[in-house]
């Protein structure tokens, strides 16, 4: 994984909605090939930040560069090289997965092999089904598939595992890791700390529109411990999720 060149540069981003300062001076860089996580409680400004980078929302102040290009001046070019999974976006009811992927590919003026893309997210056998017939985890995986039709350089995932059961979440992590190993830079938001530790090379923690910390998960924990933090309970070798997965198995239920 080469991490020399920043692929995304966010500089002093501001966005207000009415009286709410949704994003308040956010700056960070995402390196090519890394998995970058934006963490934070609900309403911290994660989604707004992401949507500004994805070119569908305009900042009040500040600048976003992708591959050195300004996000708004070159939004058309940017859209060609990014793949986006929105937090809760759905797809058209009356088309099957294959048809949906072909339709989305046509938005990029591309011709694709739908089953190849469905293979990447392990949905090959669902090619002729419709969105309605999919489970929550399958929907999220399809959403990622739809974001891959243009062979993007950067993949944005907004809370990809929210609402999924542990098995489906672990499965989605594998899919995300697989895409990253194929060389795609990934920016994701989450409020599962375990997910961030599991997937992200670096994370930014947001609170009330500001970034309060940014580093690798390991470093963030070390800094905290160095400052004398002690957990009440002794850290055990396993947690409840491990128990759950041990009892119910790692296999997907769908």
């Amino acid at each position: 994984m080469s991490k020399q060149a920043p692929i995304i540069q966010v500089k002093d981003l501001h966005k207000t909605y009415g009286d709410t300062q949704a994003v308040d001076g956010v700056s960070f860089e995402v390196m090519k090939g890394e998995v970058f996580g934006i963490l934070g409680p609900n309403g911290a400004g994660k989604t707004t930040t992401l949507e500004i980078i994805e070119t569908i929302r305009k900042q009040d102040r500040g600048e976003v560069l992708i591959n050195g290009l300004d996000c708004h001046q070159h939004s058309h070019k940017i859209k060609q090289i990014i793949g986006v999974q929105l937090q809760s976006s759905s797809f058209f009811d009356y088309l099957n997965l294959k048809e949906l992927l072909n339709l989305f590919a046509s938005f990029y003026n591309r011709t694709i092999d739908p089953s190849e893309i469905l293979g990447k997210v392990e949905l090959t056998d669902k090619a002729n089904q419709r969105i309605k017939q999919l489970s929550g985890g399958q929907k999220q995986r399809f959403s990622i598939a739809a974001a891959l039709v243009n062979q993007p350089e950067i993949l944005f995932l907004d809370e990809p595992t929210t609402g999924l059961d542990p098995q489906a979440r672990h499965h989605l992590w594998d899919v995300i890791r697989g895409q990253n190993q194929d060389g795609i830079t990934i920016v994701l938001t989450t409020h599962y700390m375990e997910e961030a530790e599991e997937l992200c090379n670096r994370v930014a923690i947001m609170n009330q529109g500001k970034i309060v910390a940014i580093d690798t998960p390991d470093n963030l924990i070390k800094i905290l411990l160095k400052n004398g933090f002690k957990k009440e309970r002794k850290v055990q070798e396993a947690n409840l999720e491990d128990v759950f997965l041990h009892l119910t198995g790692h296999g997907l239920r769908e």
Partner: protein, 361 residues
């Protein structure tokens, strides 16, 4: 940008949308069948009961003459039964042919025999016409008996006139109604749904102009509306005895213009409505009154004049009138220019509202 797949996908979506078929085909056909079974043409006839107390040649001749009059529906029977029927309103007139009915007696005495005729006071139109016909028939008998020479004879020539049935009135209206419902509901529901489910947002992160997508949706919807209108007209002709005299191209132009009105109104609603339920309610709020005020099922002539004047300006009124004229009355586009101009103004107004109110988010 590859536009063709976008259009074919839109078409696929609509063809697979069961609701569109229900509103576009099933409901119009259902209404046509129900109203077709009701046979309103029958309602015009006058029901007359005849109590024949004479039971002679003359009384039979008179009863026969009454039966020949096509507007009369004659029932012969006993007095108490028929008396009860007229009291219940099941028949409009009741004629008594008295026992002493003959030609000879009034000739000798110079005093006409009185025939009692009961009539239903509540049914002026039926009874008035009925009394005239009965009178006319009796006069003819008198003249024949008196061997008076007839002064005038009507020389009747049948003309193959276009007799409009109720179906001829209703089917163009139903086509208009279908265009309204699919136009408004179709667009409003789809746009609100796509917005609510973040589909529009998802489209905006692709390099495709989402406007192109909406245009493709409108075009395919228009295409299907025209196909469904054509299908209803065809089925009307095959099964409901629709007298289709019009030029198909004129009908097409009229239907297309009407579709544009309602599609643009659908977009306007989609801009105001925040949820699918609100969109549905707003659509119904516009559609329901128009369905009954625009002369779809019955003529607006029954309205008080102030209501007629107001409903004159409804888009569905213009569309139904123009469709009726182009489909049934041989009208050219020039003949329905008033309606077409009015519809065009509605399109302009609708588009203005749509552009003003439309939101991506």
């Amino acid at each position: 940008m590859k536009t063709l797949p976008i259009f074919t996908s839109s078409l696929k979506m609509f063809l697979r949308d069961k609701h569109a078929w229900m509103w576009g085909l099933f409901i119009p056909l259902f209404i046509m069948t129900i109203f077709g079974l009701m046979d309103f043409n029958q309602l015009g006839s006058i029901r007359i009961g005849v109590v024949d107390l004479a039971q002679n040649e003359l009384s039979e001749q008179i009863a026969g003459a009454l039966e020949e009059a096509s507007v009369l529906k004659v029932q012969q029977g006993d007095e108490p039964i028929l008396r009860e029927k007229i009291e219940k309103g099941d028949i409009d007139l009741l004629l008594y042919l008295p026992q002493d009915l003959s030609v000879a007696e009034p000739m000798q005495t110079g005093q006409p025999t009185e025939l009692k005729l009961l009539f239903n006071q509540g049914q002026f139109e039926q009874t008035g016409t009925g009394i005239l016909i009965v009178n006319q028939i009796l006069t003819q008998f008198s003249l024949q008996a008196a061997q008076g020479s007839t002064l005038f004879a009507l020389n009747q020539e049948p003309v193959d006139s276009r007799n409009f049935s109720y179906m001829d009135f209703m089917i163009p209206g139903i086509v208009g109604m279908m265009i309204m419902q699919l136009g408004i509901i179709g667009v409003a529901m789809i746009v609100v749904k796509y917005r609510e489910q973040d589909i529009l947002k998802r489209l905006r992160v692709t390099p495709m102009n989402p406007l192109l997508f909406l245009v493709s949706q409108v075009f395919t919807r228009l295409f299907l509306l025209m196909a469904q209108a054509g299908l209803i007209i065809l089925l009307g002709k095959l099964f409901f005895d629709l007298h289709l005299y019009g030029n198909l191209f004129y009908i097409f132009v009229t239907a297309l213009l009407g579709s544009l009105v309602f599609l643009s109104l659908g977009f306007a609603i989609s801009g105001v409505a925040k949820s699918i339920n609100t969109a549905m309610s707003m659509a119904q709020l516009i559609q329901m009154p128009m369905m009954f005020l625009s002369g779809i099922f019955f003529s607006r002539e029954a309205f008080p004049s102030w209501l007629q004047k107001i409903t004159d300006y409804l888009p569905l009124t213009y569309l139904a009138e123009a469709l009726r004229k182009t489909m049934i009355e041989h009208a050219t586009l020039y003949d329905v220019r008033t309606q077409l101009i009015a519809l065009t103004l509605w399109v302009v107004g609708g588009l203005f509202l749509a552009v003003k109110l439309f939101r991506w988010e």
